[in-house]
């Protein structure tokens, strides 16, 4: 999806609809609540359950907000902005790491990279040992397969 294909007007419309639906539901919930009953006679609202009302409001909000946010997160503008933020923060982190690395080196202290190199070497040695074990297994198998030949 590129910048031209993304329908920004459609997105804002969707966002408005989400807001509008949620607000209508909220106002509806409030006006129907028994705390505010129409007229001066004090109409009764039997069986009023605030939890049911809250749940309906929440469900409308959840559905509409999810839809609106999904469209936003899929917009090229969001992707580009997030990418730029990650890029700049990466540059900053790299700069800080380099400063730290140089400082440690100047103090003749081992750096994280030095330790990583040692660990990577140990891993390579382990891999070589595994290869040797495999070779030994292969030789054992071939020795079993032809015992006379191996005795000679």
């Amino acid at each position: 999806m590129n910048e031209e294909k993304f329908d920004y007007i459609g997105f804002y419309k969707k966002f408005y609809e989400a807001w509008e639906k949620t607000m209508s539901e909220g106002i509806d919930m409030w006006t129907k609540s028994p705390l505010l009953s129409a007229g001066e006679t004090g109409d009764k609202t039997p069986g009023f359950d605030p939890v049911v009302y809250y749940k309906r409001f929440y469900e409308v909000w959840e559905k509409t907000m999810s839809e609106a946010l999904e469209i936003w997160l899929k917009s090229p503008f969001f992707a580009a902005t997030m990418g730029k933020t990650i890029e700049k923060s990466s540059e900053f982190k790299k700069y800080l790491d380099e400063v730290m690395e140089k400082s440690l080196k100047n103090m003749h202290l081992p750096t994280k990279s030095d330790i990583d190199r040692v660990l990577a070497s140990i891993n390579n040695i382990e891999a070589k040992i595994n290869d040797l074990w495999d070779k030994i297994d292969e030789l054992k198998l071939s020795a079993k397969a032809s015992p006379k030949k191996s005795a000679e």
Partner: protein, 386 residues
Amino acid sequence: MQIARLRIAFGYIDDNIYPAIERTISGGYKYKMTTKCWEPPVEEAEKIVQKLAKGVELALNPPEVRVGVTPHDVVFTENKLRLLHYHPVTEKTHRVPLIMIFALINRPYILDLKPGKSVVEVLLKKGIDVYMIDWGIPGDEDKNLNLDHYINRYIKKVVQRVKTISGSDRISLMGYCMGGTMSAMYTALYPQDVKNLILMTAGIDFKVDGMLNLWGDKPNFDVDKFVEAHGNVPAEFLQAGFLLMKPVQNLISKYVSFYENIENEDFVENFLAMEKWINDNIPVPGEVFREFIKYGYQENLLVQNKLRINGRVVDLKNIRCSVLNLIAEQDHLVPPASSMVFNDLISSKDKDTIVYPTGHIGLSVSSKALRDLWPKVADWLISRSK
């Protein structure tokens, strides 16, 4: 005690506060406070307090969640990789063993989450000889591990070891997500080793309409700068990305649902096991991440048969074995269109696709999939492993 206090509080409001408000605002307003129309929801409040108390208790003293408990032996290790061999629970139905390859993101125990919620358990009950690769948690020293190392070294070594242990000259591979993509690559490079290939939500075509496909694309994400700065991809970065894909569901709805079902012990147990897995992110070695983003999401080389690993072209046409392509219909991580194309790119004559109505993770943990889908998958595998 809390409930008694609430009753007193509501009673006090009912008897004193409302009439006082009513007296104060009487006359001039259209809307008027009434006291008789609304019974204070003492019972509801009681339930809410109880649920909240339980939620706080679970948050402060979470019970120990044991995951990946199906008995197994570790039959091979190299660096952080461990190869798990599960103990059979019934007589083996055939000689061809199955190797499960999970993604490098998150831990593989999602395939063996807990008793009764385990793909491994279903397959073992059907008599399949199951192995699983646990990639372990990469350290900073592993940042240079690339696709070549994962496929031509680790997976190849595991396949050799499984062949030796089982005495079978061919194996079945089952790859999940990124592990599915790597399984497809391995099968294309070493077709002689693989008798059956099962892909679960494997990304093959990366130029499809999807959130990750957009975020990872070239103009938006400079993967080189990112990997140079970070070495390995931090687990938190991946976690944040996944949460952001469905922010309302992941950050709010999930916990509302947990609150509503807090009295259901089964629900709570499953919820905590899933939470443990979701938050058990691991870093991804930088170099393999760079290659996956660049060759997959940005250049889409695999579908064009242009991907080269250590100089060898990964030609999907080399795949001739039996293939089962499992796709999750509501997958938001790997869009169905990304996996769907696979069967058209291979030379296999025996190939099936199942599009199952669930999400990316639901494919391996939903009760419905474990009951209806996985026994069928096991039967498919058994009938082709004789």
